[in-house]
C-alpha cells in the first residue's frame, strides 16, 4: 500500500516555483531519504505532505488529503520539522500531559522510558535544555506516538556527531518496524545512507532520481582508473568523472564488475558521490 502518493504537485511562492510537478510514491514499511540541495523544494514538499501548505495537484497521505484533513491525519502521522520548534516556555511534564491529552495514540509510559535514558528531567523547561537534549525530547515524543508515518525534516541539524549517531540508532532500534514508514530529509547524506531503504533526489522542484537502495547498490560502481586505461574507461560512458590526487575516478551505471576490474580499482560509490554526479550534470539524471 502506498502511504504517500503524489502526482504533479506544484507550489509557487509568488514567481518562485518551489515544486514543479513532483511525482512521488512511498510504500509502507520503507525508509525514504529525500535529498536535495538548498532551495530544492524538500521542505515545501514535506509541508505539503503534512498539510501545512496548500498545493496544486493530486496528493494523498494514508488515503487522506492532507490540506483538508490535517488534524485527522496527525493521529497517524508524526513529524519533526527542521529545527527545534518545541515551545521554549513549556515543561517536559506539561508536554507529556498535553500530548497524552490530545493524542489518542500517544503512549506516555514509552515516552518516559525513552526520556529516562537521557539527562532530561520531567520538571525542566525546554529553554533550559541544550539543543541536543531538545532534539532527544522531541524524538522521544514522536517515538511514543504510534504513528504510521514519521516525517523528519533535517532532524539532526546543528547537532554534534554523537547525538546524530544516537538519533538514527534510536530510530532504527526502538521505533522502526515493517508497518511504519519514515520519510527523512537531510544534508548529511553519508549519515543516513545505511539507514535508508529508498532514496529520492530532488532538484529545482522536481524529482530527478528515485531508486531503492538495493537497486542503487547493484547498479552503480566507481572505478579508480589507471591513466593508461582512461580512454577505454570513458568509452563505458561514465555518468561522472572526477580527479582526486591526479587519479581519475569514474562513476558508471550498470557496467560489468569484471570488465571494470580490468581498468582499475573498483569500489562501491556512496550516495553522496551519486548525488554530486547528478547535481553537477545540471540536476537531471545523466
Amino acid at each position: 500500500m502506498a502511504v504517500i502518493e503524489a502526482q504533479g504537485i506544484r507550489k509557487a511562492f509568488g514567481t518562485t516555483v518551489a515544486l514543479d510537478g513532483v511525482d512521488l510514491r512511498v510504500e509502507e514499511g520503507h525508509i525514504v531519504g529525500l535529498i536535495g540541495p538548498n532551495g530544492a523544494g524538500k521542505t515545501t514538499a514535506l509541508n505539503a505532505i503534512l498539510g501545512l501548505t496548500p498545493y496544486q495537484g493530486q496528493l494523498t497521505v494514508l488515503g487522506r488529503d492532507p490540506w483538508s484533513a490535517r488534524a485527522q491525519l496527525m493521529r497517524d502521522v508524526a513529524y519533526i520539522s527542521d529545527v527545534a520548534v518545541l515551545p521554549r516556555w513549556i515543561r517536559v511534564s506539561q508536554l507529556l500531559d498535553y500530548a497524552g491529552g490530545v493524542h489518542s495514540r500517544f503512549d506516555r509510559a514509552k515516552a518516559e522510558a525513552l526520556l529516562a535514558r537521557t539527562a532530561i528531567r520531567a520538571n525542566s523547561k525546554v529553554r533550559e535544555l541544550s539543543k541536543g537534549m531538545v532534539t532527544q525530547l522531541h524524538l522521544a515524543l514522536v517515538m511514543a506516538v504510534d504513528a504510521r508515518l514519521l516525517v523528519l525534516d533535517e532532524p539532526t541539524l546543528g547537532l554534534d556527531i554523537l547525538y546524530r549517531k544516537q538519533f538514527y540508532d534510536s530510530l532504527l532500534n526502538d521505533y522502526f518496524d515493517q508497518s511504519r514508514t519514515i520519510l527523512v530529509t537531510t544534508h548529511q547524506v553519508e549519515e543516513i545512507q545505511d539507514v535508508l531503504t529508498d532514496v529520492v533526489f530532488i532538484n529545482r522542484g522536481r524529482i530527478v532520481f528515485a531508486s531503492s537502495m538495493d537497486q542503487f547498490e547493484s547498479r552503480y560502481l566507481e572505478v579508480v582508473v589507471r591513466p593508461d586505461r582512461l580512454a577505454a574507461a570513458r568509452a563505458l560512458r561514465p555518468i561522472h568523472e572526477r580527479q582526486v590526487l591526479g587519479r581519475s575516478i569514474l562513476l558508471v551505471d550498470g557496467a560489468d564488475r569484471e570488465q571494470l576490474a580490468a581498468l582499475g580499482e573498483v569500489r562501491k560509490p556512496s550516495l553522496a558521490d551519486l548525488f554530486v554526479a547528478v547535481m553537477e550534470a545540471g540536476g537531471t539524471m545523466p
Binding site: L50, G51, L52, T53, P54, R70, A71, Q72, L73, M74, R75, A78, Y79, I80, S81, V83, V85, L86, P87, R88, W89, I90, R91, Q94, D97, Y98, A99, G101, V102, H103, S104, H138, V142
Partner: protein, 270 residues
Amino acid sequence: MNSMVWSVRRELWENRSIYIAPLMVAAVMVLASFVVVLTGRHSRPDQVASSCEFAAGILMGTMLIVAIFYCLDALYGERRDRSVLFWKSMPVSDWTAVLSKMAIPLVVMPVVTFVISIATQLLMLLTSSAILSMKGQSAAALWALPWLQMSSGLLHHLVTVHSLYYAPIFGWLLLVSAWARRLPFLWAFLPLAAIGVIEKLVFNTARFATMLASRISGGMEGGSARGSMMMLWPSHPLEFVTMPGLWIGLAIAVACVAGAVRLRRYRDPI
C-alpha cells in the same frame, strides 16, 4: 472536546499572567484597604463598600489589559518562535486551537476575575471587621450591606460587558495576531486610528470614534452609569439581548475568529 480542554490548559501554562496579574492586584487592594481602615480614614460601611467596588473595578481593568496583550500575542507568538509547527503536529484542528484562545478572554478571564474579586472583597471585609472590632466599633453594619446583590451585579457585568460586548474587540485582536508579520500591537490600533482620522478629515464627523468609545465603555451612553451603578448595567437581561449593538458585535467576533482560523492554516511561521 478533550483537545479543547487541553488546549485551554496549555494557554494557562503559557500565560500565567492570566491569574498572576489579578492576584497581585488583589493583594495590593487588600493591603491598601487594611491600611486605610487601620488609620481610621475609612470606617463607615458605605466607604468600605465603595472601596470593595473600586477593587472589583481595578481587577476588571487589569483583566482587560491582560486580555489585550494576551490576544495580540496568542497567534503571533507561536509563529514567531515557530512552535506553531509543533502544535500543528498534534491532532488538534485550527478551529479548536483558535477557539481555545478566544475562550481565554471570553470565559476564563471573566471567571478568574469574578472569583478573585469575590475573594478580595471578602478579605477586605474580614480585615475591616477585625480592625473595627479591635477599635471597639461594631462591624455588623458592614455585613448588613447588600453583598449578594453586589456579587451578582458583578457577575452580570462580567458576562454582559466583559465577555459578550467585548467579544468583537478580542476577535479583532486575534485576527491581527494571526495576520501580522511583525508589530501586531501597531497593526491592531493604527488602522482604527486611521479610519477615525480619515473620517474626520473627509466628513468632519466622528462616528467611528464614538462607536469605538461606546464599545469600550460597554455601551453605556453618557453619564447614565455613574459609580456603583456600573455593576448593574444593563438593568434587565431582556434589554441586553435586544440591543442591536450586541448582535452586530458578536457577528464581527465570529467573522474575526473565522478569519483567524483561516490565517492560521495558511500563514507560515515568521
